[in-house]
Amino acid sequence: MTAELPAVGEAGSPTPDGADPPPIEVSDLSVSFGDVPVVSGVDLRVERGSLVGLVGPNGAGKTTVLRAIKGTLSPDAGAVRLDGDPAESLSAREAGRRVASVPQETSLAFDFPVRQIVEMGRTPHLGRFDGHGPDDERAVREAMDAAGVARFADRAITEVSGGERQRVLLARALAQEAPSLLLDEPTASLDVNHAVRTLELVRGLVDDGRAALAAIHDLDVAARYCDELVVLANGGVRAAGPPEDVLTAAALRDAFDAETFVGENPATGTPTVTAFDAIDGGEPDDGGAGSEPTDSGSEPTDSVEPRRVHVVGRGRSAGRAVARLAVAGHAVSVGVVPEGDAAAGVAADADARAVTAPPFAAVPSERRDEAVALAREADVTVAVGKAGRAGRTDPETGDEAGANAAVLAASDRIVRVDDNFGADDLLDAVRERDGTDASDR
């Protein structure tokens, strides 16, 4: 059987250099339900040894794309190729040998034992009257061990928990021993331990040469395990590529309609995404302006003009201010902060400029001048925590406090917040300090 496959593949898709066609290739796929288009013009390919994550907001069509690849719905336009052959030309049996899928959930009205559910994964390999041979039994045993379901193999599927059931479905797909794997939210109902184990398992299979495409809603998880991400939104592919290229605030704003801060997970070194409410103007604060601590009689505004904001302070609280201001769309700079400070790390993630100085030492004067220049350019300077009191320090003192005092002295407008500031208060204060903007309204 393996002998005939390449021949069919060659006929199906001409690949340069005689390279094998990709296990999964989707080109210009369009699917609609009735008159409602769900996805259109979707292109993606999954190579051997590659785990591709399909991410995107709810309703973006992730499951639809997976179903089109499985062949359970027929596309309006475009093609799905499995190992180079058009999917619609394959019998269900042949398709079942090429692609195994782990569904989001399963409905089972009858109480089959777990073992028998896993054995059903062998269906595409069996003739109508074949019993399970040694190969089938080995595949079932290995799949159950790998997915960690062997322990409850003899229990009824109706009696195991939701997370256990999802692992049974994974085991069934593994027993199928297909070169490609489709997973629809494989970790949706798993606890952290089993979620990680499941993805490590999939990662291992992929590293052994399989191809996998997984719809994953958790962006951090997707970034951590996938080689490539495909962002699906508004019916089409919005971005595709390695996670660090795809997971940017701009791409995510486009796809999810949400403001996000993309940082680096300190434990894994992979991108981590934090989402905030869309800041499309905030809420109009009609009359409530009097409660603002920095209110100076300006009219309330309901739009955010991006501003140059300089942040003075250090540590996590200053980092948080940098992140929130950057997410809100302001151009942010920070300094002077010690090298390796949390605020400096956040600034790097947020593409904000950070002026750093060696810790436990005098601040070099050129660094101090740099920060002063940034503060002078800025519309607003935000002083976080202890830094807000730096104004009382003699600017000529050579340490960080002195430098910060010089920075504050150079600032036009200063917003002082303490370490436990509320994010909304900070954003409002920055906005309200802006007299020119307010007068427009």
Binding site: A92, E94, G96, S101, L108, F110, Q116, T123, G131, Q176
Partner: protein
Amino acid sequence: MHAWRRSAGWSAGLAATLALVAVVSAAIGPVRIPPTEVVKAVLNALTLPAGVETTSQGVGPLTVSGVNIAYRSPFAFPVDRVHQQIVVGVRLPRILMAALVGFALAAAGTVMQGFFRNPMADPSIIGVSSGAAVGAVAFIVFPVALSTTLTLPLVGAVDVTLSHGAGVSLFAFVGSLAAAFGVYAIATRHGRTPVATLLLAGVAIQTFLGAVISYLQLQAGESLRRIVAWLMGHLSGAAWSDVAVTAVVVPPLFVVLLVYARDLNVMLLGEEEAQGLGIAVERTKRILLAASALITAAGVAFAGVIGFVGLIVPHMLRLVVGPDHRVLLPSAALAGGSFLVAADTVARAGSTELPVGIVTAAVGAPFFIYLLMNREVHEL
């Protein structure tokens, strides 16, 4: 292989049970006959083809001029002639008919419950029983003489005459298939037959046909009594010719269902998943539907609407042997045969004979309620 071996074990045991029930049933009646004599009488009646003779005088059912198949009875136990006649001529065809009908209904019920993934499904769910009832009732109310002279090529003029009973069965058979096909056609669009649509179309057609039956009953006049008897289900008057027709139709269809037993297991996971596991879902659904409709039609065409066999027997057996259709289907079918033979024995054992449908419902419904109270059915 393991499942099929288990299946064979259960089938052997249940087939033995069916034989035992049949022998006991044949012993019971207005004339009591010892079971040993029943067995002897049955063995006496066995005839086997023993060779080909070239006399012109034929005795067997196959008579071709000049060539005869010779039959021989291997056994000749001394049995009372009257007893021999009662067992072989009267009770045995009825018992075999009950076994075949129960077998067919329980098999179709098992498949329908799996097909619809609903433990409340039964063979009548796709309109088969209602269609059969309309056909039979229409024929009873407006009997047409089914006697024509067909002029066939090669053979020449052939007189074809159907008895009244055979006419009822024929119309019931045609009616049931027409109803099932109508339900299927309504529910099918673009080559796909969603199970939920099929279920609703079945309910709609059953309701409509129920109205037709009620109207026909109003118009029935003197034949109302016969209509009611037919609708309640009956096995009286079963003749060897009826048994022969049913025995030719039911087993091959059962084999078709059995061949698809493993596919049916996988289909329980849901159609999409079954597709992903290499099952040609729509084709499998068509085959399962057609075979179940035919096997049900074969059962109800002769025996009328016998309820509860196709609903309860699959349930009971699922509790005993588990949900694997490779084991469940033959087990339920054989148990269905035993159940209907036993129920029919009860129906004819009293001073006045009851329609067997009353017995199956009267025994089946309380048992079903018992299962419900024990929450066994909820778990399915």
